[in-house]
Amino acid sequence: MNLTETGESRVNGYLFVLERSLKTFLPPDVVRDAVREIESHLRERVASADGAPNEREVLERILGELGPPLRVAQAYSAERTIDEAVTTGRFVPIVRAVGHLAATTVTGFFVALGLLVCYLISFVFIALAVLKPIFPGNVGVQYVHGFPIGLGAQFPLEPGTELGGGYWWIPFALFFGLGIFVGTHRGARCFLSWWRERRLS
């Protein structure tokens, strides 16, 4: 079956939505390959429908069997993001995969919440280590009447608050910040690995 202009527009519209959805989480070369393969599938199906009287009906049936573009993109996302995160162990793919699970599963949501808190704590410690040499009078342990009330940075330091902790704060904050970051990152990777095994089993 040779498609009319309307049929071509329908196919191109489907591929456009698929491409846009895939682009949000896949590298461009992978997107190109995936869209090319889906287009090949569609063209093959259309070609094999020779003799069918109603183009629109045939096309809608073919697209229906293929699945909505967002569902197909979601399937790519599920297969791809977790695999990439587990295999590479890089920060961005791991965050992307956890984000995907958080958006699609209840367990993923709570795990992502926990991981987010831990990542934030680690970033705060690292930021404090960086800020200490720049603002030595604002970063450290805060005391009021000799009692420690908190640790962190305060701009400006409130009256009555004394700052404790010298430059030893820098290695301390760096050690804890990086320690929590590495621990959280390993935890996230383990979780994704477990999820992947669960999916394959």
Binding site: I38, S40, G67, L200
Partner: protein
């Protein structure tokens, strides 16, 4: 777990094996794989979701993919089993048969026990 969830898990568990079996006889392109699966099983619910699985199996080194042009009016992406894929397929077949045999034995024993109790 609902019956539908259990069925879905069973379907997903069998899909990798079914795809590897489909390409074990020789290279096939995506639609040919889907048509073969549809002819013998009801594992394909949404055709478009088979392609991401083919992509994963390729990334895992079990399949090898190659675009072929000129054979049809549009290019086709052919998949064939790699040596690692053939080894994995043999393992999966053995495990599947052993698993099915055990469940069969269990079902026969259970049915016999039910009959004897009546």
């Amino acid at each position: 777990m609902s019956h539908e969830t259990w069925q879905e898990q069973l379907r997903r568990g069998g899909l990798d094996l079914a795809i590897l079996l489909t390409v074990s006889a020789g290279p096939r392109y995506g639609l040919a794989i889907i048509q073969h699966l549809e002819a013998f099983t009801d594992l394909v619910v949404t055709e478009g979701t088979i392609y991401p699985i083919l992509g994963r199996l390729t990334r895992d080194g079990l399949l090898e993919a190659q675009w072929v042009e000129g054979e049809a009016p549009h290019p086709r992406k052919y998949y064939r089993l790699t040596r690692v894929g053939a080894k994995r397929l043999a393992d999966m077949k053995g495990e599947w048969r052993a698993f099915a045999e055990k469940i069969d034995r269990l079902m026969i024993a259970s049915e016999r026990a039910v009959r004897e109790s009546h």
